[in-house]
């Protein structure tokens, strides 16, 4: 039925793939989150010169599939003569676009950033009025208010929604194999074509994703306990 030998024989390629997936998703999420914080503040601003460009950005990247974005960055840009000339000339910046890892990282980071901006912006908009009024009453400047009250509160309250985004990114990263990267899915495809055993190859890949998702869910539970404790239902003392 299930030939475990195929898995044990190729275990190291799966491990390598898992490491690549972890790097890709980890770095893309970190970069996306860092960029998303200032963009989210711009997104909720009343100034059209600030919020319009960010609106356009999130609209565009949430409105097109990540696979298409990746294919454009990897195959699309490489089609142009100027890009090939830049590679020929060893231009350090454009050479980055020759590497499939960088292309995937760029596409993933820009994509997750767009979603994270909307998550954070929603969180900022739904901040309780009382918190803002209290900060104003204390005489805080708008920047101090943002730094001390708005952002910490919004970031905390976006943890549950953001955990979904992290899980989506992990699953979405499976498209990295479309640009020759041997991530978990790429390793599974190689095993499949070598042994003609799609069931074993893909079921095991699925198990690895499942395990990684469990780990992410666990980490976010810890984060929620740490930063959202004040929003949890209060524990009642058992009656004697």
């Amino acid at each position: 039925m299930f030939e475990f030998e195929i898995i044990t024989e190729n275990f190291s390629s799966y491990l390598d793939g898992m490491w690549l997936t972890a790097q890709l998703v980890g770095i893309a999420l970190a970069a996306g989150l860092v960029m998303a914080v200032p963009l989210a503040v711009m997104r909720v601003s009343n100034n059209p010169f600030l919020y319009r460009p960010v609106w356009l950005y999130t609209y565009f990247f949430r409105g097109t599939p990540m696979l298409i974005q990746l294919l454009v960055v990897y195959y699309g840009l490489a089609q142009f003569q100027w890009m090939q000339d830049a590679w020929e000339a060893q231009s350090p910046f454009w050479l980055l676009f020759r590497e499939p890892f960088f292309c995937a990282l760029l596409a993933f980071a820009v994509n997750t950033c767009a979603y994270t901006v909307e998550i954070l912006a929603g969180s900022i908009r739904s901040i309780p009025h009382g918190e803002i009024e209290a900060a104003q009453a204390m005489g805080m400047t708008p920047f101090t208010r943002l730094r001390r009250i708005t952002l910490p509160s919004a970031l905390r309250r976006s943890i549950p929604a953001y955990s979904n985004e992290v899980i989506f990114m992990l699953q979405g990263s499976a498209i990295a194999s479309a640009v020759t990267l041997v991530d978990i899915t790429g390793a599974a495809r190689d095993v499949y074509s070598r042994h003609f055993a799609p069931f074993e190859a893909f079921v095991f890949a699925g198990l690895i994703y499942l395990l990684m998702t469990f780990a992410i869910v666990g980490l976010f539970r810890l984060a929620e306990q740490r930063w959202l404790a004040h929003l949890m239902p209060r524990k009642t003392q058992a009656a004697h």
Partner: protein, 262 residues
């Protein structure tokens, strides 16, 4: 008396089914893989496969008719007796051998290393070490490169589609590509997309027995497993047209190079 004659006739018929006397043969081809098999303006099949088939039939005194059949249903239709043999540039593979029998090859299907014209690379480990070679995942070319180069320090970059491998070869992401020779020739080198690119070194038929087994036996004529006699007729026919020079005449019509291999 009448009954006896009838019984004798029936026996004859039954014998005929067992050891069929091949005088008429229905051959099938696809008509979508020029110059090996294509369609004439009137819809009839033309190409190298068809010329080879007709030459064998003339040689072996068979009356042959052609059937056009889509690639997907080719082997099932053969098994279902819609026709008796396939001449559609079909590679002899272990998988197909489970369902049908093949004649000896009537032309070779080597793999080839493709790269920029003037590239110093060739299918030789000493020069390929440390280079990136593109291949379509799961093809004969991929198996060959993975098995004999991948463990020796050549990076094999795998693609889901052959066109993607060529795209990365053109843009310079990989140093060379390895592919089925005929596929590379028809699909890339002879097309506009392949301008400035060519085969590097010689065609790869495999030097050791292990390498030759990986590259495969070549292109053969497929027949139903029970039709051993027909397979033998084709084998004799191929040998005969090779010996008499008919084969070379046909091959020259389409290619300026040797297609039979060694």
């Amino acid at each position: 008396m009448k009954k006896l004659t009838a019984a004798a006739l029936l026996t004859l018929l039954a014998l005929n089914v067992g050891a069929k006397d091949w005088t008429e043969v229905r051959l099938a081809s696809e008509g979508a893989y020029p110059p090996f098999n294509g369609l004439a303006p009137d819809g009839s099949l033309i190409g190298l496969d068809i010329d080879i088939g007709n030459a064998i039939c003339a040689e072996m005194k068979l009356k042959c008719t052609w059937v056009k059949q889509d690639w997907d249903g080719m082997i099932p239709a053969l098994v279902a007796r819609k026709f008796d043999a396939i001449l559609a540039s079909m590679s002899i593979t272990e998988d197909r051998k489970k369902k049908v029998d093949f004649s000896n090859k009537y032309y070779a299907s080597p793999v080839a290393l493709i790269g920029k014209n003037g590239s110093p690379l060739k299918p030789d480990l000493a020069v390929l070490k440390g280079k990136k070679v593109a291949a379509q995942r799961g093809t004969v070319a991929d198996n060959f490169a993975t098995k004999f180069w991948g463990k020796e320090g050549v990076t094999i970059v795998r693609y889901a589609k052959q066109e993607e491998a060529y795209a990365d070869l053109k843009s310079g992401r990989v140093d060379a590509a390895i592919a089925d020779y005929w596929e590379a020739k028809g699909g890339f080198l002879d097309a506009d997309a392949g301008k400035g690119f060519g085969m590097l070194g010689e065609k790869i038929y495999g030097k050791t027995a292990d390498e030759r087994a990986t590259v495969g036996e070549g292109i053969g004529i497929a027949v139903r497993k029970q039709d051993k006699e027909l397979k033998e007729i084709f084998n004799k026919g191929i040998a005969a047209i090779r010996a008499k020079g008919t084969y070379d005449k046909i091959a020259k019509k389409y290619f300026s190079e040797d297609i039979y291999g060694n």
